[in-house]
């Protein structure tokens, strides 16, 4: 999904790691190796941004427009995320 969308529309998908409960780096490293992830990853160890946004579960996708406006929130199902992306690009 991430690779496809970046090549199709230039949409960047930024992973934000939360709720590890321990030092997140080893966990994220293992996760990236397992799933072959190479894109941007931010660490939110105390879930401060997640709490501010009211994130209650994982995965949660927050779709942000070029003016910084949140266009969709949640969108965990593939079809929901695809719809949110289509709406973001006016497709």
């Amino acid at each position: 999904m991430r690779v496809r969308e970046e090549s199709r529309s230039g949409l960047e998908i930024v992973l934000v790691d939360i709720w590890e409960g321990t030092e997140p780096r080893p966990e994220v490293e293992r996760f990236c190796e397992m799933w072959g992830i190479k894109g941007p990853i931010l660490l939110d160890p105390n879930a401060e941004l997640a709490t501010t946004l009211g994130v209650r579960g994982v995965p949660t996708n927050v779709v942000v427009d070029s003016d910084g406006t949140v266009r969709a929130f949640g969108a965990a199902r593939l079809e929901e995320l695809e719809q949110a992306i289509d709406e973001l690009y006016g497709r």
Binding site: A47, G54, G57, S66, D67, G68
Partner: protein, 371 residues
């Protein structure tokens, strides 16, 4: 998350007979801190204790269900992820995923009795008192271990498929169903001969199962697809797909079998699904990233292991029947508003990155956890 502190409202005593229909048909009793990444829960009804498998702490938190306090932490093997309690022997079993073993705890002394080797990465277990059997799904081994609950001998190791984990048993049909997360499938076995009777392709990320023998049905959770499959156990075919909240992962049957509780890891909630109508009756908010769920037979309360918030929620479902209004998922108040400024460490470079780094770009923040 609206947790309600440790003690319940005295206006609604434990086991209150009154059930109501309202727009908020649930009540939150407590949210109790436990170890890291709690995933599975078992209840000792007689002693009023919950055993919570805390997979990243490598221990089981024992919670007093009267005081809502953790009274003991019992070390297990690496990554205890699922748990069950056999009332006849008083044994608690944990599936220790990274240790390829089952730890057995005496629920009276709260001491480890022994450990049993099983297949690779055991991630689900189910015990069946009628059969005196414990079934363990070994995800990496693609097998199902069958253990005698009394002698603790492994009586069979049955071929399953990649991601074997959750197991459901229909004692009346003498049918064992092994759900395979990676293969997105379920295998159906004769409980006596372990002959495979059938196989079913399911949704992506199948990870939990509940059985309703009197209806001849199984309910199987498809986490990535975001649905629960209603399966005909006689025909071994899918009858219906029921939509739940986001990223469902855990399932428990209500003792009356009129509803199913499904934890939604992506939504921080429990979906209440009607068994007869296949409709989502309500969503009960719990802690962050919920997974394992059980119903306490003492009072009917729902116990939920919240992997994200590292807590165990106790909630009450107050619905008497299907409510007149459908579930409406709450819309985030951030939609249509500007994302708040943020400054977070970049995993790769170690430098701080802010929202300004993505100024004038369209992007998605994907909140995730490695577990």
């Amino acid at each position: 998350m609206a947790a309600t502190g440790k003690r319940e409202d005295p206006a609604f005593p434990v086991g209150a007979a009154c059930r109501i229909d309202s727009r908020s048909p649930w009540r939150q009793i407590a949210e109790i801190p436990v170890g890291l990444d709690p995933e599975g829960i078992a209840v000792d009804v007689e002693r009023r204790r919950a055993f919570v498998a805390c997979s990243r702490s490598d221990f089981v938190s024992v919670v007093d269900l009267e005081t809502h306090e953790v009274i003991r932490e019992i070390a297990t093997g690496n990554e205890p992820i699922d748990i069950g309690l056999d009332e006849q022997t008083g044994r608690v079993f944990t599936a220790d995923a990274h240790a390829d073993q089952v730890t057995i705890i005496d629920s009276a002394t709260l001491e480890v009795e022994t450990v049993l080797p099983v297949g690779g990465y055991p991630s689900g277990l189910t015990h069946v008192p009628e059969f005196r059997r414990l079934y363990v799904g070994n995800s990496l081994g693609s097998t199902m271990s069958v253990i005698d609950l009394d002698t603790l001998e492994t009586v069979a190791t049955v071929d399953a498929e990649p991601g074997a984990g959750a197991i459901g048993v229909d004692p009346t049909r003498r049918l064992v169903v092994c759900v395979n997360f990676v293969a997105a499938s379920a295998n159906f076995y004769d409980a006596d001969s372990f002959e495979e009777l059938g196989r079913l392709e399911l949704g992506i990320g199948t990870c939990a199962i509940g059985i309703v023998p009197e209806r001849g049905e199984a309910f199987i959770v498809n986490s990535i697809a975001g649905t629960v499959s209603r399966v005909d156990l006689d025909r071994i075919e899918i009858k219906e797909e029921i939509r739940t909240g986001s990223a469902p992962v855990g399932l428990a049957m209500h003792p009356s079998h009129d509803r199913v509780y499904v934890t939604n890891r992506g939504a921080g909630s429990v979906s209440v699904l009607g068994v007869a109508d296949g409709v989502e009756w309500s969503q009960i908010p719990v802690g962050g990233g919920p997974g394992g769920v059980v119903v306490d037979r003492h009072d009917g309360r729902i116990l939920v292991a919240n992997a994200g918030s590292q807590t165990m929620s106790i909630v009450e479902d107050l619905l008497a029947t299907r409510p007149p209004a459908p579930v409406v998922e709450e819309r985030s108040p951030w939609i249509g508003n500007r994302l708040p400024a943020f400054s977070l460490e970049d995993y790769w470079s170690g430098e701080r990155r802010t929202n300004h780094d993505w100024a004038e770009k369209k992007y998605i923040l994907n909140f995730f956890a490695s577990w």
